[in-house]
Symmetry: C2
Subunit: 532 residues, 2 copies
């Protein structure tokens, strides 16, 4: 699929004008949308600086890159909070279009106005302090992590938590500070209901982890350890990403240290991965995960790029798409039925003795790990809950940054039975806090919850889904996701969207059932959770 040149398409202004229809404020709406699109354009330039930093930047160029990124961030904030733009938004919010426009137009006007009020309450000084501290804290984190020295990081983390608390008070003085931060990543979510969901999920996962650990039958990933030459892996995972629908005319795949997916324009979505020549899952599942994010980005409306109808609903919904492809597709027996011939052709030596069912079982090992990003699907959410509880306690003032390492180790020992040997394998492992991403962690587990509930709805709609996957026919699933999940952009909250897609309020039972169904039998356990 090669998209046609925009010269053959209507201009963005044409699209905005047609959406508003004939109203008294149509041209105001067009101006507001055009301004927002220009802000998005500049924001993608900043994203290119970040992508390049993580994939291409020469070793000595880090300091100047930080200056470039800070300059662009300041520029984007200034444009975003432009006074004339605010006046247009006020006029739109009070217009008939705000109530009688199409759902997309109404949501755009409402979200423009909310975003503007929220962002305008943040002084430029705080934006710059956050940008500067994030850069300094991440550099301190890199140094501290290399030496496993908490004291190198701690003072920067003190500043960062203090600044984020200040930001929370500015952005949403009406909300609990943690909820105000959460709102940046999961609009409309509140920490109380997340706590309740997490508690119910935890109650089901802990016994499953224990049962898997104690099982006499346990899958082994030995077959996935061996000689997997880099060049063969590169071709193999690109083939997989393209097969599930990632469009390489509108994106690419590169190498990095901490894999991510970045969008630099409506037709420019970039996946990254890392490689392990002796363990296939490292790159394979990271590419399935990032390609899942990429399919969502490529499924959003290009016409409304950077505006609510063309933006992701939330990080939780984003993660639901990555997890759906990584875990619910990629760790299924049907996927390995389809994938097996290509895998054995790509790695004839390492997989000489393997069968499709060997591989399907090998990707279902459960093995507690100190490191979140290496965790299996079952224990993963325990890592997230730990971080969610600790960061909430720090923001609330119930836990000091100085006490974080002790609290971490204690909680980890309670959940996993061991204490991390060094802070590098414990409290310091993630870049999120030094980067200022506080309130971000719970969206990972929300994504897992959403993914299972969305996949269950897909299985109901597409009666033949596992068989389709077994034949490598991913298009029906992708088309269904595009229509049901991607098409509404940010016009619904994550809870509204999941409810609309599945016909039921968000319910953690879908994830619990999915875990038991897939992990139970390979561990000699029931495929269903115990009746509660």
């Amino acid at each position: 699929m090669v998209p046609v040149s925009s010269q053959d398409n209507p201009t963005p202004a044409d699209v905005f004008r047609a959406a508003a229809g004939d109203s008294q404020v149509t041209e105001v709406f067009v101006a507001a949308c055009s301004h927002a699109r220009e802000v998005a354009l500049l924001a993608t330039v900043d994203s290119l600086l970040q992508w390049d930093e993580q994939t291409m930047l020469p070793a000595a160029a880090g300091d100047f890159r930080a200056e470039q990124a800070a300059a662009m961030a300041a520029l984007v904030h200034a444009r975003r909070t432009d006074k004339a733009h605010g006046e247009r938004l006020q006029q739109l919010a009070e217009s008939e279009l705000a109530t009688s426009g199409s759902p997309a137009v109404r949501a755009t006007i409402r979200l423009f106005h909310e975003d503007f009020k929220k962002q305008s309450r943040v002084p430029g000084r705080l934006v710059e302090a956050l940008a500067r501290t994030a850069i300094e804290a991440q550099q301190a984190w890199s140094r501290g992590l290399a030496e496993a020295d908490w004291n190198l990081l701690a003072p920067y983390l003190e500043s960062m938590f203090a600044l984020k608390r200040e930001l929370a008070g500015c952005q949403r003085p009406d909300l609990d500070p943690y909820d105000a931060l959460l709102d940046d990543y999961e609009p409309g979510a509140d920490s109380r209901s997340i706590q309740e969901r997490f508690a119910r999920l935890r109650a089901a996962i802990v016994p499953l982890v224990q049962a898997c650990g104690a099982a006499s039958t346990r899958p082994s990933d030995a077959v996935l350890r061996g000689d997997f030459p880099l060049s063969a892996q590169q071709e193999f995972v690109k083939m997989i990403a393209a097969a599930i629908g990632f469009d390489f005319h509108r994106g690419r795949l590169d190498t990095t240290v901490h894999p991510f997916c970045s969008t630099l324009g409506p037709h420019d979505c970039r996946l990254t991965t890392r490689w392990d020549e002796h363990f296939l899952p490292t790159a394979l599942f990271s590419v399935l995960h990032e390609a899942g994010h990429g399919l969502y980005e490529q499924g959003l409306s290009a016409d409304w790029f950077g505006l609510p109808p063309g933006e992701a609903a939330s990080l939780g919904i984003h993660e639901s798409q990555s997890r759906l492809w990584e875990n619910l597709v990629g760790r299924s027996a049907s996927f390995w039925e389809w994938c097996f011939p290509a895998a054995s052709a790509a790695f004839p030596t390492a997989l000489a003795e393997a069968s499709p069912s060997d591989l399907a079982a090998a990707v279902l090992t459960v093995q507690p790990s100190f490191i979140r990003v290496e965790a299996d699907e079952v224990t993963y959410n325990l890592h997230v809950m730990l971080r969610f509880d600790l960061e909430r306690a720090v923001i609330k003032g119930e836990l000091s940054v100085a006490d974080l390492p002790g609290a971490w180790d204690e909680r980890f020992a309670a959940d996993f039975g061991q204490r991390p040997p060094t802070p590098a394998q414990g409290v310091m492992q993630d870049i999120h806090w030094p980067a200022g991403l506080i309130g971000y962690f719970p969206t990972y587990t929300l994504g897992n919850l959403f993914s299972a509930q969305i996949m269950a709805a897909a299985e109901t709609s597409l009666a033949d889904l596992p068989a389709q996957i077994g034949r490598g026919e991913f298009r029906p699933l992708l088309d269904w996701l595009r229509q049901e999940v991607h098409a509404t952009g940010r016009t619904l909250t994550s809870d509204q969207l999941v409810t609309q897609v599945s016909g039921e309020a968000v319910n953690e039972r879908y994830l619990i059932e999915s875990l038991y169904r897939r992990y139970g039998p390979v561990h000699g356990l029931s495929d269903k959770p115990p009746a509660s």
Copy 2:
């Protein structure tokens, strides 16, 4: 060499303040320099957009990238012509610092002021029209080139020449329009003296080309055609670039269609090349050429990045550095003495029968070509002179764009004895005119002239130079270039710099002698030009 973090260095403002010393306008100077550095910072963001476009951009992302680049160009122009900045520059120009400061400070104040006046005379409308037309014309050029259809390009070229004529009148109403354009690339140069230099050079080159063509002894490049596997080439040329001094901690090498060198920051210089698996010189000489540009960029003052003392003197001087390494080093017998063992180790099959002198002769073939970028060193300047004469005639109004193809073919036939079979091999081959780079071509031949005169001075200073090159000791030459050529940045014009370096005004005899010395003997001719 890994530069230390800027945290251990003085800030840019400290550097500017120290340079100005104790004067009444020191803080004005610091503010002006800081503003200029911020403009340079934003300009490098634009450069990243361009570099990424040429190396990484997904196929479908071109239109949005054009929008991003246009937005950044407009932003940079607005900052560059900021009124408050202009007032500071006026104050500095009238201050004691403008006459009593150090040479670097005086040149900075003078050039800031000249640049500002020149740029401020250009209306934003014209900047945007030029940016938009350049993008459209380059897209039309790509399509037209693929179909060898001049009519697809012609109307865009009409607009571009008209806009550039308008730009010339705005920027430098005091100059002949062509000289006004030339001033953007070769400050201080004038087309009359370039014509005179070119005429003298031409008078020496034409007989040499004819003599080489008629020679009974002629070198052959057959040994460089064969099986040169990509991965071995990649390692080999990176080794060569590093050996001559290119610092990969402060740069990188990537693949592109039309090789270039781009600077994205004081410690971020990126080379590009293309590859031919069956012809080693394509990548080797393109990397030597671009690494020559890169060595200049890496040799400029990082403290004064983006300001006159840290900027390139001119495109001609830039090209002198690329040509010096590509031709005067890379096509010398001593270079191949050093390089031979590494080359045979990298390409054991293709070079099984070769000797160092075979390779040294093979890179000195002279073979007229329709295409400038494929031309040998001897005929190359005839390609440049043709373009210089034609573009000058169009700007002067003596030749219409419609008549360009005919004039091209006629001139080419006169110089090379054949007419190009299609416009793709003639008037349409270069991206320069559609990109708006009019007045740029002569800098290529100026670079060749400068390179020979600079190299002659280096040979005088470094008595042992060929022997050093034969041992792979490139550091003395690079250090000499850094001190003599790179250190003064843009504070001298190209003619002033070459005169200072060589102790003699620019003289084309150095290039003529260099060509005869290297190309004469392998063609069974004298190693000296005929006495004129």
